[in-house]
Each structure stands twice: as structure tokens, then as C-alpha cells.
Amino acid sequence: MSRPLSSAARTSSSLATPPADRRLPAGESLLDVRALTVGYDGIAILPALTLTVRAGELWAVIGPNGAGKSTFVRTALGLGRPVEGIIERRPGLRLAYVPQQSALDAIFPISVLDFVLMGLQGTGNVLLANLGEHLGRARAALSEVGVEALERRQLRDLSGGQRQRVLMARALATDADLVFLDEPTAALDAAAEQEVLGLIERLRQRRGAAVVMVTHLVEDGLERADHALLLDRDHRVALAATATAMRSAPEFEHIYARFVGRADRQREGERP
């Protein structure tokens, strides 16, 4: 494992174009999960799982409702105890979590800029010292996702697409090496959905971060992701594979084939 990034290097650089020495080398192991079983109160809800998330990778976490996706994410983030197994993080790994929009309080009065500033708080900067410098970083993140004009607006007053962009801006501002996204395209129209998927791609390509994305868009997810994690509590499935291999996995076909096939047929029908 290589040395952790220094905080000085992180804060002195501009957001949009991270210098080469701040980017993790592609393929660097960030999160190593070995024989992990997740569950509640010591009771496993999924079979054991082994996977490694590397710098620059995009993982799609797929599965039906109630499959255990959120439980896996919470455990991987360190918010819940594994029932068994090991989760090893790269030393100094910076994590960010982008919640579902619906998980955010719709009453809380928080401005867009204040929300993005939250991304700069955390280990070593609980009080958000040097606010002036951090304001610059927050504004740069907003600019990168194209919503700098909204900085004074209330997060609760934005459209779904705008709000998701602001959530992405906070993830960018954290300068995280590994970003977990919970249903980033839920409740968005098709155009906003594509914009958000584009932002995720940018986060990965330009910043070298790894992204783990819980998604209900199985086909889009597999199309864009390098790897996929299929979870299904009812069928006792916890399968990690490359996106290509996932499509032909019997477990995937068993759970998704009829939906995927139907979507493919619809697409065929739409073609002139």
C-alpha cells in the first residue's frame, strides 16, 4: 500500500484539476472486503462476500428492494458492524457518502453553500477552521457541477436534478478517494438522470476516485460500471463480478433476466 495523502496536499490544490501527485494511481486497492457477512444484531442476512474496490473503479450495487444493499453500504462505510469477515481500508482513505435525496430533511433550512461546506468538515477539521479558504473550495465544487448560481438558495427549494448536483458537489468538495452514492438517480427525470450519471463519470475520470453506486437502474449501471455487486437477501445471493461477467451469471439471470430482456426488446422496438 502506498503512503496516505497529506492533508496539506489536499487543501492547497484546486478542485477542478487535481495535480497528478494527489490522484491515486489507478488500480490502487482502496477497500478490501474479505469473507464479509453483513446483517443485524449478529444475524447474517447475506452470504459471505469478497471483493476489492480499486482507485478509479465504478461499482454498481444492484438488487431488488430489501436485498440488503443499504446494509452492505452501511457496513462498508463503517457505520455498522460486520457479522463476520474483514474490511480493510487503505490507510488515510477519505470516504464520502452521498445520501438519497429522500433521506434529507425537507424542513431543515440549509443553503446550498452551507451544505457543500459540510463536505469539508470531518476528521481534523470538525470546527471548519479557515472558513475563507473553504468557501473557495465549496464554490469551486459548485462551479464544477454547474450550480454556482444557486449557492444562496435553500437546498429544500431546488428541483430534484439541481439538488442531486449539489449533493455531487459536496462529494467533490470532500476530495474523497472513495465515494458511496445511494440511489443517485432515484426520482429524477431522464435528462437529469443522464446528467447525474455524467457527473459520476467525471468524478471518476478527472479525480481518480472510486465510486460505489447503489442503483435501481440495472442496465445503465452495468453499462457504465466496471464491476457489479448483486445482492438478494431472499435468494441468498451476494455476487461480486465484472459488469460483463455479471450479465451472464446464472444468479443475475435468475433475478433480472426477464426485466433486462423486456427492456432490450423495448429498445429494439424503438429503433427505426
Binding site: 464520502a96 445520501p99 431543515f108 433550512p109 440549509i110 463536505g119 468538515q121 476528521t123 470538525v126
Partner: protein, 323 residues
Amino acid sequence: MTDTGATWHELFANLGIFRDAILAGGLAGALLGFLGVHVVLRRMVFASSAIAQAAALGVALSFWLPALIDPLGHAAGHAAGPGGHVIPSPLFQPVLWAIAASLLATLVFIANPVRLHLTRESMLGFVFLASGAGAVIIGDRITQDAHDLTAILFGSAVVVQPSDLYWVGAAAVILLGGHLALWRALLFVGYDPLGAEVQGMPVRALNGFLFVSVGLAVALCTRALGALPVFAFSVLPAMTALALTSRIGLGFALATAFGAFSGVAGFAVSFRAELPVGATETGMAVALLTAALVWRSVAARRDLRRARQSASQTTAMTGGTHA
């Protein structure tokens, strides 16, 4: 008013007597007004009510236990005249019992009762009802201190002890200082606890600080002012501020100012109109909130009307272009 109430001149002439009560009302209003924004935004309004009731029970216990331990000495103290309430040991200082009971109630709030298949709200209901019933029952047992206890439960104390003012003043300075330093951190943890935890924020410690500071503030202010105005100050000024502004920093500042104003102006009006102090302070906070809600409602209608006019103008212009 002059034949039934006092005059403003009398209030100013006797300011030396009432100064402590006015200061205590203002400081408690400011402190609880600030903390109240967290209380309201985190939907723990009922917590401050339950904690205030627990503090009142703590004070009631501090009155009752000395009488239980040494009934003759206690009665002799009261027979000696006003202010003869005997405290056999520093351990029976009412403020200590108020703090202890409040912190106990705060622990119930912090604890997660999911394992008992109960919600946090229902546990707070339990604390509120147990404390309220306990205070009334104990109040019935201690006839000699019943007046003091009634003052604490309903906030009818016209005069505040200097020691209570010092406690409230110290709490206001220390807790507000701590809260100003941790302001952004507490907002983050309150708004997005998962995101905060992932980014390495000490979520439990920050929440613990918030809950304990609310418990302490409620305990000390309840001892000085009574449970009713304390509950009012920890909810109503924050609601007023949040109805008036969407800017969170301004919201905290306004809530602090409205709380202080309710405490000071409420006391003055209660003196002028010879009304119960705590209820009048609460009424002042209610009046401010009512005015804010009316203003908000009018402003919302005006904004809607403007938006409709703007939309219809746009439609007319577009229609003209097409024609």
C-alpha cells in the same frame, strides 16, 4: 389598568428588587432561544418539556427529602419566618437535584429504546408524565414549601434568588460559547448524521454535548423561572425565527433575541398588569410567534400572487409571439 395594576413608574422605581428576575428571564430566554433552534429542527420539542418536568420533580424532591429526614428541624426552620426553608446539607440544594433529574431525563432521550420495541417519543412521554405526576404528588406532601414548588412548576416566581441568577448567567455564557464554537459541526450532525459519521465527525460526542447542554440549560432555568416559561423559551422563539427567515445563521440570532425579549418584556407586562410571570412570559413568546406566522402567511400569499402574475405575463408574451 391603573386601578388594578402597577404603573411602569413603579417598575422602574423598584428595579433593584426585580432586576435579578428580569435579568434571569432575559438570559434564560436568550440561552433557550438559541438552543431551541436545534431542539425544533431535530424534532425533539417534547424533550425539553419532559426535561423541564423532570427538573421540577428534582426540585420537589430536594424540598421533600429534608422534611422526610428531619421533620422537626424542617418545621422549626419554617416557623422562624419567611425564607426559613432548611437545607440540612449542600446535597439538598434544589439546583443540584434539578440538574441531576434533568440529566437523568436526558439519558432517556439519548438512549435508543428500539430494543424495547418502543419509540424515543413514547419514552419521553413516560418521563414527562412520571415527572409531572411525581411533582404534584410530592407537592401535596410538602405544604410548607408548596408555594415555592408551584412557582417552579408554573413559573409564577416574581423574585429570583441571586444564586439562581448566577447559575443561569454562567450557563448562558459557557453553553452559548460552546455552542457558537461547535455551531457548524452541530448543524452537520443534525442535518446529515450518516454523512457526518462517514467523514469522521464525532457524532456521538457532538450529540451528547447538545443533549447535555439542553438538559443543563433546562434544569438551571427551570429552577429560576419555572417549567412553563422554560418549555416555552426552548420552542417558541425558535419557531418564530424559523418562520421569519430561511437563513440558518440569522435564524439562531433572531431566536436568541426573541427569547431574551420574551423574558424581559414578559416580566415587565406581568408586573404592569399584575399577571402570573411565567404565563405572561410564555404569552409574550406566543404573541411573537403568532405575529410571525401571520406575516409569513401574508408574505407567502403575496409571493404566490406575484408568481402567478409573472407566469401569466410570460404566457401572454409567448402567445403574442406565436400570433
